[in-house]
């Protein structure tokens, strides 16, 4: 399962080692063709979207009005705020769940590693739409089987439209693979085991080890996992739309019908924000690397 897992963590978590072979041999032509064709393929849609949003249809000049209109667009503040709140809650809950798990597996229960790895990969394998159909069926039990009991009340509370906690629960499951990979990479690269053993043999208590050794070591990977989670939650459409909640992506789709340029402007902006977040991750990662090697 390593290749799959590397792919998951690939989004800026760990920079791979130096290439096995750098020097170019024969046949540079096909390489150039591949790079140019694919470079165009990836650049053209982004460039076109930018052009689409800054072009003034009336005068033919440039305009930033569609970007300026985003903050004031009806429903934007509400939908974006809700998605952001969902994202933060998901980050907190996922970290509370996974940090102790990863540390425990590394230090005390290495035998469980394979099981945890498999379990955290499950959400990647199961299509989100299949998962959400199941969630919907479970939620429909509330009026059918549990009506008038505390269970039903709890289930209704989960579906409060202003802040749907059920989305947080589903998102925690969906981001599990990414969070686990990021944290696991951090734990493995930092030599956590050696350092905790050193701290223990110097007489530090377990709580002391956790606070002064484990947490500082995991700082970068925790940040890493948080940014990835946030980016994923802000872009998640399937679950929210099937369960019928309004979040940032469902709002974009709604707006697209009447104001296509606004919706593309928001899309471009969300891509740029994601890009910035992930670049930040890789910059943090490199800084830590240079600190370690110096």
């Amino acid at each position: 399962m390593t290749a799959l897992a590397e792919g998951v963590a690939g989004a800026g978590s760990v920079e791979p080692a130096a290439p096995a072979r750098t020097g170019g041999r024969r046949g540079g032509a096909w390489r150039m063709v591949v790079l140019v064709v694919l470079g165009l393929y990836f650049a053209v849609p982004i460039a076109s979207s930018l052009w689409f949003t800054v072009r003034d249809r009336g005068s033919g000049g440039l305009t930033a009005e569609h970007y300026a209109a985003i903050p004031g667009a009806p429903g934007f503040a509400e939908a974006f705020g809700r998605s952001l709140a969902l994202g933060v809650l998901t980050v907190v809950l996922a970290l509370l769940l996974m940090v102790p798990t990863v540390v425990l597996v590394e230090l005390r229960l290495p035998r469980l590693r394979t099981a945890v790895e498999l379990l955290t990969l499950m959400p990647l394998v199961i299509p989100p739409i299949a998962l959400v159909v199941g969630v919907r069926s479970v939620l429909s039990w509330a009026p059918d089987h549990f009506y008038g009991t505390p269970v039903a009340d709890a289930m209704f509370a989960l579906q409060e439209p202003t802040l749907p906690w059920i989305l947080v629960l589903v998102y925690v499951v969906l981001v599990l693979p990414f969070v686990y990979r990021a944290l696991d990479a951090g734990v493995r690269n930092s030599g956590l085991r050696t350092l905790t053993e050193a701290a223990r043999s110097l007489g530090a208590s377990w709580p002391r080890v956790l606070v002064s050794v484990v947490l500082p070591l995991l700082r970068t990977s925790v940040l890493n996992a948080s940014f990835l989670t946030l980016a994923l939650v802000l872009g998640e459409y399937t679950v929210a739309s099937i369960l019928g909640f309004e979040t940032f992506p469902t709002w974009i789709v709604q707006v697209a019908g009447s104001q296509p340029q606004l919706s593309v402007a928001v899309s471009v902006l969300s891509l740029l924000v994601t890009w910035a977040l992930l670049l930040l991750i890789s910059a943090l990662d490199r800084r830590r690397r240079t600190e370690e090697s110096s």
Binding site: L4, I126, A130, G235, W275
Partner: protein, 268 residues
């Protein structure tokens, strides 16, 4: 629990049926039978075709890009750029991607469409973004970066010593790839292809934003079945369709696990 309960329920609900007149529920395999014929069957065929084609294309193009980048002479900067961009773009599925493509080659407002039609007088030559071919073009936008991310570690694990050894023994480049590099890379490449397939198969947001529900795709059918309040029992059809998806992906992943066991031997 949030993970296992819904899937368990899915497996049970798919075998339930709601009687159209009395609204009483009973055990039945009708929904599952319905999945294997008519519109549902067409949706499965459509989804499987689209996923298979995009997975193969994504694998080939992604592999070419990864090899080209890893062996580039001005390697460092280009490498880092492509890998970081891949990290971003592989997660750039969904709604924003669909809108970026509508702005590019959408049928009436697209920038490239306008360029081709008005300036060059060519038109799109029968190509439509809102068709299977259009979807494939859009899916590749996140599948190729996913392939680059997945396969780069395997490419880096190809030891230079192997190439040197085969060179010293007088092998040609073709012989190296045929007897050394190719066989070592085959399992991870196949594995990555499975991952691409599963990822294209599960895609919903992009397709929804692009084509609504006009194309036969399983994910779109499920959403349709769930949102229809008119047809009694469509809820059960939705669960049956979803269960079918889990089964398909399960089969693909079983194959993936088998392939991976063969990989571990060389790329430890």
């Amino acid at each position: 629990m949030v993970l296992l309960l819904p899937i368990g329920v899915l497996a049970v609900e798919a075998f339930r049926a709601t009687d159209p007149t009395t609204f009483e529920e009973s055990w039945s395999t009708d929904s599952l039978a319905a999945v294997t014929e008519g519109a549902s069957a067409r949706a499965y065929v459509g989804s499987l075709q689209l996923s298979a084609i995009t997975a193969v294309l994504g694998t080939v193009l992604g592999l070419a890009l990864a090899v080209a980048v890893l062996r580039a002479e001005r390697g460092r900067l280009l490498r880092r750029l492509v890998l970081t961009a891949s990290g971003v773009l592989a997660n750039f599925g969904g709604i924003p991607l669909a809108f970026a493509f509508i702005a590019t080659i959408g049928s009436n407002a697209g920038v490239v469409t306008g360029l081709l039609t008005n300036t060059l007088g060519l038109g799109l030559g029968g190509f439509s973004l809102y068709s299977m071919a259009g979807l494939a073009l859009v899916y590749l936008y996140f599948l190729i970066p996913l392939m680059v991310l997945t396969i780069t570690p395997a490419l880096e694990a190809l030891r230079p010593q192997w190439r040197e050894a085969s060179d010293n023994l007088g092998a040609s480049a073709w012989q190296y790839w045929r007897y050394v590099g190719g066989p070592v890379l085959l399992p991870p490449v196949l594995g990555a292809m499975m991952l691409l397939f599963a990822s294209a198969f599960a895609a919903y947001a992009t397709a929804k934003a692009l084509v609504g529900s006009t194309l036969p795709l399983v994910t779109l059918q499920i959403a349709d079945a769930l949102s229809s309040n008119v047809v009694v029992g469509s809820e059960n059809l939705g669960t049956a369709l979803a269960l079918g998806m889990v089964v398909v992906v399960g089969l693909v992943m079983a194959f993936y696990a088998w392939v991976q066991r063969r990989t571990q031997r060389w790329l430890a």
